[in-house]
Structure formats: structure tokens, C-alpha cells
């Protein structure tokens, strides 16, 4: 038995589609067999609201008179990249403002989404076609031509949890790690996380329509550091540790500040919380199995950030049921564990996507190219 995307879209059109959130299908799986789930459910919606450092926005301001090429550019004192065509710029989420620790690119992007005016300063080398030397103006989402997020790496399929064996308190991007295995921090939405529900990228690929930042966007490419070869769990096929990633694109002008929030991480810097949701079509029983994978079935490694090397020692392999319980056992000791990803918001996103589909506001897409393309993740090597 199979079910095509076209059939699902037909059901959406007729108002007959059955959609469940990822956490709801996990509950259903406790009582019903995969065969039954596949018969009854057409689509499962996922959600995640985590920090996604590898994010940023392309903006085209519109040309100035006299013309100027935006070369050295700042937005509210945060450096933007101007090394592309004249009035195209890219603002990266983690770029810090001049002389400030707690403000950066993510705050500029958030400010734009909130409707704020952002000060643009630019310097340039004058040419015959672009005579302008300097400019200082205000931009907002209303007066720019285009503004869209184009994020090279979002939506990690699994991620290592972090702990700290050393005697000092560490301030990491995973949050403060207390000394002597004082806590464990982890970052994915577990059974709600989009790529945990499609381990082999059977439905999510380039061109897949998604929820991003409160609007509709698309999977643009394989994400950077996409690793198809992470050791996989034999039952679920899911990577034990960081696996696939997605490069995503979406219209910043349509995004909402509830689903896009700047973050300042003490000791690390700036990042961006971004809400992402992906519909998982149940095209066959195999997808019904993957979509109903529970927290208990998703394993990850707890690694030791107390060792400051690329290869951090693995302290333990755990699952998300243990991590979400708030306590993890390490060397016979009960250790506090906490998420960095908002599960509350992740559920909200999966719920919104579910409603969009039910209310005919969101139709599903076939991917136009399958992932992975390269799927290579290697450390830096000399040529």
C-alpha cells in the first residue's frame, strides 16, 4: 500500500486529510499497530525551536541616488557582508556589534522582523558607475526590496548532549556546564524534531515546503556538515549524534517575532532561535514507522566538553526519554539534564502546521532532488 503526495493534497482539498502532531502519533503508537496508523493518518507535523547559529539574511536595499556600491557595511553597528552586487548584503546571525558582547546579527534580524528601523552605514570606493563614497540611512522591512533568510545549516538531525568532567565551570554554546559532571545540556526537540521522523530522507529533500519563522519557506539545499554516515541505530535508522542538516530559505518579510528570537549565550556570543516545522507525509507503512519513533527510541551521545579537543570523549549513550526526564545517570550519580530547545514552542509550531494543512492553507510538496547530495563531513585537511 502506498499513498502519494498528490493523493494527500487531494484529501486536503476535500477537507478529509488526517493530520497528527509528532507527539500525538507517538501516543497513538502505544495503542495501535503501524498498519493501522498508516491507514488512518496521512500527515505528521514536526516542530523545533532551537538555536541555529548558521543563519542569516540577504537584503537588497534598493539603489541610491547618486549610486553607491555598499562595500563596508554595518547594520546597527553589526558588520554585514557587502562583497556581492552593489546593494545586496548578507547579515549573519552570529556577527557581534562593534564593542558589544550581547548584541549582534540575530538582534538586527529580529529587529527587522519586529518592524524596527535599522541604521545602515556604508563606505565604498567610488567608481564611474557608483560614484558614492559614504552613506547613512535607515532600513526596515518596508523600504527594502527583498529580505530573506538563507541559512546554510539548520534543523540538525540529532545532536550530541554536553557535560563537563573538568573542575571549572564552562560557558559553552550548550549553556553553562557545571564542573564535575554537574549537569547535562542537550539540544533537539527529540520525537518532535523534523529529521528524526525521516531518517533516510525519503520525503524531505530539496524543494520541500516547510514552516520557517512563522511563514512558509523551502529546503534549499543539503545543509553544511550534512553527515549521512554517522553511526546509525539499527532499529530506527537514526544517527547516534549529529547527522543530516538542511539549508533553508524563507521570506523574512512574512516572519513573526514569536518564531524568531535573538539569543545571547554568555561566553560564546550571539545566536538565533528559529522555529521550523516540516510535514512528514505517510507515503507508506515504513514512513508511519519512522514518524512514530518515540523519545525512548532516539539515542544520542553525551560528550565531555571538559576536554577541549575536536574529539570529545563520549561519556555515555543515552536516549531522549532519559534526557527529558530532567535527570541522567552518569557514573552512578544523578545529574540534572535540561534542553536548550524549547519543546513548548516546538509543539506550538507542529500544531500550527497541522492547522494550516487541515485548513487548506498548506499543501504538501514532492522534493525536486533527493538528499544527501554529498553528505560528507570531515575535519579540515591540508591540501
Amino acid at each position: 500500500m502506498k499513498r502519494s503526495i498528490e493523493e494527500i493534497n487531494e484529501k486536503i482539498k476535500k477537507g478529509e486529510v488526517v493530520v497528527l502532531r509528532a507527539d500525538e502519533i507517538v501516543e497513538m503508537r502505544k495503542k495501535e499497530k503501524i498498519k493501522e496508523i498508516f491507514k488512518k493518518v496521512d500527515v505528521v507535523t514536526t516542530g523545533t525551536f532551537g538555536m541555529m547559529c548558521s543563519s542569516g539574511a540577504f537584503i537588497n536595499t534598493g539603489h541610491f541616488d547618486p549610486p553607491i556600491k555598499l562595500q563596508e557595511v554595518t547594520l546597527n553597528d553589526v558588520k554585514a557582508y557587502g562583497g556581492i552586487a552593489s546593494v545586496d548584503i548578507y547579515i549573519g546571525a552570529t556577527e557581534k556589534a562593534n564593542g558589544r558582547e550581547d548584541y549582534g546579527g540575530a538582534h538586527v534580524i529580529q529587529g527587522l522582523v519586529k518592524g524596527e528601523k535599522i541604521k545602515l552605514k556604508a563606505k565604498s570606493f567610488p567608481t564611474d558607475c557608483y560614484p558614492g563614497k559614504e552613506i547613512e540611512v535607515y532600513i526596515s522591512l518596508k523600504n527594502v526590496n527583498q529580505a530573506f533568510l538563507f541559512n546554510p545549516r539548520n534543523c540538525y538531525q540529532n545532536y550530541n548532549a554536553a557535560t563537563n568532567s573538568s573542575k571549572e565551570l564552562l560557558y559553552t554554546y550548550m549553556g553553562p556546564l557545571l564542573p564535575n559532571f554537574g549537569n547535562v545540556m542537550f539540544s533537539t526537540s527529540g520525537e518532535l524534531s523534523p529529521l528524526h521522523k525521516d531518517p533516510f530522507f525519503r520525503t524531505v529533500g530539496i524543494g520541500t515546503k516547510i514552516f520557517i519563522g512563522g511563514t512558509k519557506g523551502y529546503v534549499a539545499w543539503e545543509g553544511t556538515q550534512f553527515n549521512f554516515y554517522t553511526e546509525k541505530d539499527k532499529i530506527t535508522g537514526l544517527p547516534i549524534g549529529p547527522g543530516g542538516t538542511l539549508a533553508l530559505i524563507g521570506n523574512l518579510k512574512e516572519m513573526k517575532s514569536e518564531f524568531l528570537k535573538a539569543a545571547y549565550i554568555k561566553g560564546y556570543g550571539i545566536s538565533l532561535f528559529l522555529g521550523i516545522g516540516i510535514p512528514i507525509p505517510l507515503i507508506d507503512e515504513e514512513m508511519a514507522f519512522y514518524a512514530s519513533i518515540s523519545n525512548e527510541m532516539i539515542k544520542t551521545k553525551i560528550v565531555d566538553y571538559g576536554v577541549k579537543r575536536l574529539d570529545r570523549p563520549i561519556v555515555k549513550i543515552t536516549n531522549y526519554k532519559e534526557l527529558f526526564s530532567g535527570w541522567v545517570e552518569i557514573n552512578g550519580k544523578r545529574v540534572k539534564s535540561a534542553p536548550r530547545t524549547s519543546i513548548y514552542k516546538s509543539i506550538e509550531i507542529a500544531e500550527i502546521l497541522k492547522r494550516w494543512i487541515k485548513n487548506k492553507k498548506f499543501y504538501l510538496t514532492n522534493y525536486v532532488r533527493k538528499l544527501p547530495i554529498e553528505g560528507v563531513y570531515k575535519r579540515w585537511e591540508e591540501i
Partner: protein
């Protein structure tokens, strides 16, 4: 019997008194309950304790007088933690550093705060990625 009150105080112990059983004396002689929330006391070093003292007003006054006589400095803790619900995204980062468990995620993964368990260590403020926690006072 007078009315019972509870006060949270920060006690600073000069090193000359850390070997003296002050807490025991407070309970036994001054008739107050002492609940130690946080303490760092080492031999021959200045130490501190955050405690709740509970008892009748006159007993608490007596207890404070006794502490001062022994050279212990008392600082009332009027500070408190405020969570800005508009900014909070319920990620739970703060719960991972809150050792007394004053901050926790409920069954719906929403952040909850029990001020009576808070020891004002301020680690939550450092862990919060969206600046939603403030310490006032």
C-alpha cells in the same frame, strides 16, 4: 504564643568563628528553626551561609543579636528573581543550572518557578539565552 515569621538572610562568617557551632546554638538556645539553603564554610577561611530563620519575632531578634555578638554579619536578602514571561521562550536552559530545583519545566514543557526554593545563586540569569531573567533588589 507570638506570630511566627520567616526571614531569608545571608550570613558572613569571619574565619575566627567558623569552628564555633553557631547554627546549633541558634536552634538550641535561641529557639528558632534554621534551614540552610546554601553554605560554604571551610576551616580557617571566611565562610557564608544563606539560611531561612523561622520563629517568633522576639526570638528572631534575639538570634540576630547573638549572631552579631559572635561577629557574624547579617544581610537581609531582599533580592528576588523575576522571569519576564513575554521574553521567556520556555527552552529550559535555566533549569539545567538550577540545582535546588526552583526552576523546572512542567508536564507541558512550560517553565515554572518556586521562589521558596531559590537560593539566588544567579546561575539561571547566566544560562538564559534570551535575557528573560532579572535579579532585582
Amino acid at each position: 504564643m507570638g506570630r511566627n515569621i520567616k526571614e531569608r538572610v545571608f550570613l558572613l562568617f569571619p574565619k575566627k568563628v567558623v569552628n564555633y557551632p553557631i547554627t546549633a546554638m541558634l536552634i538550641k538556645e535561641k529557639n528558632v528553626f534554621v534551614n540552610i539553603l546554601k553554605a560554604e564554610i571551610m576551616p580557617n577561611e571566611d565562610g557564608y551561609m544563606i539560611v531561612d530563620i523561622e520563629g517568633e519575632i522576639k526570638d528572631i531578634e534575639e538570634a540576630k543579636k547573638f549572631l552579631k555578638e559572635k561577629g557574624v554579619s547579617i544581610f537581609p536578602i531582599s533580592q528576588k528573581i523575576i522571569i519576564n514571561k513575554k521574553e521567556c521562550i520556555n527552552c529550559g536552559s535555566c533549569t539545567g543550572v538550577c540545582l535546588p530545583g526552583a526552576l523546572f519545566l512542567n508536564k507541558k514543557f512550560k517553565l515554572e518557578f518556586k521562589p521558596e526554593k531559590c537560593i539566588l545563586c544567579s546561575m539561571c540569569k547566566e544560562a538564559c539565552p534570551v535575557g528573560a531573567i532579572e535579579i532585582i533588589g
